[in-house]
């Protein structure tokens, strides 16, 4: 009985569905109507802001989201316009992008590539986002970048410092404004050689994952180029919180510099531990022992407190810069939220503006047209001086800031001081540099989807 019953029901249902399908002439396949994925059709355009709202980089994510909201406000003509006024390209007039009002959707990457891809996919498949941006770690950035390449969407990377993003994992649809490990190394090495001399012996502690590897490689090569010697490089597990067992062996060697290739909570703990061990008061080989942190962020400096005083590192941008762009951005961010923006906020704000401007110049949302407009685009006025979006690997080239922990901070935001602005020529590299994946690395061809 049940058998025939069921078959009939199934047949009826299938028949009904098939009938409905056949009866309708307006059957579409994804986005085929305009030649690329999620072409905006109405009076609005949707951008996807995919940032870590939970997990270890939630602080950076929250600051990124603030900057995105500010950027959207400025693009739609609200607020004081921020860096739109100082940006060298003048296509942004506060009327959205290509005259379409900017709307946005947000998602939580949880600092996991799976969750980030799920969130990005829902933005593409459900919300019709035409561009995805964000990410606060290289693993996530690389994963989402590959997804956007497959789907035919532009990806504007947020805070991602590993060489891989525009190195061996570069993609035609992905763009990065933030600097990378290689640049950190190249910018830091001369400053370190100046300050500490050319015959130093360095000991590296490196977070045991991709970003740590590329940073260690970059710093080792750059400092050895200056005449330094690398005594040892030890990998530390990412989840390590007590670094004393890694710091103690440093004292047994004749190293006189400790390089901490750590980020976030790792760096806060390892630096604190190193200072507590009295490394900074040591004298080895008749030289004062020194500590270096290749990648600094204000949030980290705040976590490490007084321990960062006098310690060198590099950063993408700092709010205390005095060029017109930085001042305008710091002002409008500060007015809206009551505190100065972080480098993560700055880079995502720039990325949003750069995308909007590229669309305006290309007069199309088509990812291939946008990519063409961004490639080899030179601009100024976004806080980093003259900048080039190189076409060969979609990496921004700009001056790199070498910073030092401030001796007498005046507030909890005023922890770093800019020691030197390393000119872009010094951090430039060939697109097929061995650290960037060598000759094998390729962008592939641009994918408009559909």
């Amino acid at each position: 009985m049940s058998k025939s019953n069921v078959t009939r029901r199934g047949v009826l249902k299938t028949g009904a569905a098939a009938g409905a399908g056949l009866a309708l002439p307006t059957i579409l396949t994804a986005g085929s109507h305009s030649g690329f994925t999620n072409a905006p059709t109405g009076s609005t355009v949707t951008l996807g802001f995919n940032v870590p709202q939970s997990g270890p980089y939630a602080d950076e994510g929250a600051d990124e989201l603030r900057a995105y909201e500010l950027a959207v406000e400025h693009l739609n003509g609200g607020g004081d316009g921020g860096m739109i006024n100082t940006f060298s390209s003048k296509t942004l007039e506060g009327n959205g992008i290509l005259g379409k009002k900017v709307e946005y959707v947000t998602g939580d990457t949880q600092t996991k590539s799976d969750a980030a891809r799920a969130s990005a996919k829902s933005m593409i498949e459900k919300d019709g986002a035409v561009m995805i941006t964000g990410g606060s770690s290289s693993g996530v950035a690389v994963a989402v970048q590959a997804l956007c390449q497959e789907a035919g969407i532009i990806f504007m990377a947020g805070l991602t410092h590993s060489n891989d993003t525009t190195g061996k994992d570069r993609k035609a649809n992905g763009f990065r404004h933030f600097f990378n490990s290689y640049m950190s190394g190249a910018a830091l090495a001369p400053v370190l050689a100046n300050a500490y001399g050319k015959d130093r012996k360095a000991y590296h502690l490196t977070a045991d994952y991709n970003w740590g590897y590329t940073t260690e490689e970059a710093v080792v090569q750059a400092t050895e180029g200056m005449g330094w010697e690398t005594v040892n490089a030890v990998k530390t597990p990412l989840t390590q919180t007590d670094f004393s067992s890694y710091i103690a062996p440093v004292l047994q060697t004749d190293a006189d510099v400790l390089v901490l290739n750590h980020y976030g909570g790792n760096m806060i703990n390892s630096l604190t531990s190193a200072v507590q061990f009295g490394l900074r008061d040591k004298v080895v080989n008749n030289k004062d022992f020194q500590i270096v942190v290749p990648l600094y962020s204000r949030l980290m400096a705040r976590g490490a407190g007084a321990n960062v005083k006098g310690i060198f590192g590099s950063t993408n941008w700092h709010w205390s810069l005095t060029d017109e762009g930085s001042k305008a951005f710091t002002k409008s961010f500060g007015t809206k939220y009551g505190f100065p923006p972080s480098q993560a906020a700055h880079t995502v704000y720039c990325q949003t503006l750069l995308y909007a401007d590229a669309v305006n110049r290309a007069k199309s949302f088509n990812p291939c047209a946008v990519a063409e407009a961004l490639e080899d685009f030179e601009f100024d006025g976004l806080g980093n001086g003259k900048t080039l979006y190189r076409g060969a690997d979609h990496q921004c080239f700009k001056d790199v800031l070498v910073v030092k922990g401030k001796e007498n901070p005046t507030s909890e935001f005023d922890l770093l001081e800019v020691v030197e602005v390393t000119p872009v020529a010094q951090v430039m590299y060939e697109p097929d540099h061995p650290q960037m994946g060598g000759a094998e690395a390729t962008l592939g061809s641009c994918n408009p989807g559909a």
Partner: protein, 396 residues
């Protein structure tokens, strides 16, 4: 029919209908309405429902039947995923060999882990499996970077040239089934509604239905009865002279193979693997899925998986902006007040919402969502008569 009794057959047919018509069922709100936010009928999420459904069904074979709480099941998911992506990178972009290999490798790994972990039971077993999973995670994250790609994971790249696929120079390979792209979709527009029928989704559905059918058969088999006996009193079983270890090991391996299948399907639908797929929170998630839905029941874990994935993907995307749009019609003061009240439960607060829901289920519905269904069913069948002698099959 199919060797199932009437009740199971009915359940199986319900599951078939639900999965086949999911694109309609999950998209109840028209595109233009504000409620479209709650639509879940887009390919990625539907695929996830199915894949995590399989994962939970497999976990339930171990946990629901034998009572052994594995706290490291995500490791098998990860091993399956890595096996699948390497098959695609090296051999062929067809998903079938990838999925088969993912099952095989996860099964082999489960034999090793199970053989060692099953020497203990209870909390010690859980800790052992947890340790294995975390070890796998740490290995994949850093030590085995050349094989696993480390933190950035593995993807199919333009430089990959699988043996049996002929790709044009620089073309990025796509997972397919004999040429049918996993991501190709057929969209049906009915008025304001948009329904998407995705190739990958239906392939996953086929696997899930097979997996579900096998799990019903397993539940009703003498082997399943033996596993239940292990759960109710393993010591007594041992005293009767019966060696229960082969049974538990078999259940463990089957369960691991289900997880491997889920991992392989994940790669087939979305060609990328990252190590955090094996992190202990992922293992914890499948435990939550089973308990939320109803451990030891056939359909429960699938419902639990759907619930958690829905919260993760839909609730986490609601932001203050959207709330303001919803409450626009109210006076400013009340609007802001309501947004402030709801704010902690949306966006990144989806964990909190899920936690509250989980607590509510544990306290009021110890049998999970299945018990809720049973209670509602009884209400209808008996015209609301109070039946306090309610007996439910879920986990004791």
């Amino acid at each position: 029919m199919l060797g199932l009794n009437n009740k199971d057959l009915r359940l199986f047919i319900i599951v078939i209908c639900l999965t086949v018509f999911a694109p309609f069922i999950l998209n109840p709100f028209p595109e233009t309405s504000e409620l479209a936010q709650f639509n879940a009928g887009y390919p990625d999420l539907m695929q996830r429902f199915i894949i995590f459904g399989i994962f939970a069904i497999g976990f339930n074979i171990l946990f629901g039947l034998t009572g052994y709480l594995s706290f490291g099941h995500a490791a098998f998911l990860g091993v399956g995923s890595y096996a699948a992506i390497w098959m695609m990178k090296l051999l062929t972009l067809n998903v079938i060999p990838a999925i088969l290999m993912s099952i095989v490798f996860a099964g082999l790994f489960a034999v090793v882990v199970g053989y060692i972990s099953l020497r203990r039971s209870g909390i010690y077993f859980s800790i052992l499996t947890l340790a294995f999973a975390q070890m796998s995670y740490a290995l994949a994250y850093s030590v085995l970077t050349p094989i696993t790609g480390g933190e950035t994971g593995l993807q199919i790249k333009a430089t990959d040239t699988p043996l049996l696929s002929n790709l044009a120079e620089g073309e990025i390979g796509r997972a397919n089934l004999f040429g049918l792209d996993m991501r190709s979709s057929f969209e049906l527009e009915l008025g304001n509604w948009l329904f998407t029928f995705n190739a990958g989704y239906y392939i996953a559905v086929v696997f899930m239905l097979i997996a579900f059918y096998l799990s019903i058969r397993l539940f009703r088999s003498p082997f399943g009865m033996m596993l239940r006996a292990v759960k109710s009193n393993q010591q007594r079983m041992n005293y009767t002279g019966l060696n229960s270890k082969p049974y538990t090991l078999a259940a463990f391996v089957i369960s691991g193979m289900y997880a491997g299948l889920a991992g392989g399907l994940m790669v087939a639908m979305d060609t990328q693997v990252g190590p955090e797929r094996m992190f202990w929170t992922a293992s914890g998630e499948v435990v939550l899925m089973s308990i939320l839905g109803g451990a030891g029941t056939l359909i429960g874990p699938v419902l639990g998986a759907g619930m958690i994935k829905y919260m993760e993907n839909i609730i986490s995307k609601i932001n203050d902006n959207i709330l303001h749009k919803w409450f626009e019609f109210m006076p400013d003061g009340i609007e802001d007040f309501l947004v402030t009240i709801i704010h902690p439960f949306i966006g990144k607060g989806w964990h909190l919402t899920l936690g509250l829901l989980f607590m509510a289920v544990i306290i009021f519905l110890p049998g999970g969502l299945v018990e809720l269904g049973q209670r509602i069913g009884r209400l209808f069948r008996r015209g609301g008569s109070k039946d306090t002698a309610a007996q439910s099959t879920p986990a004791e």
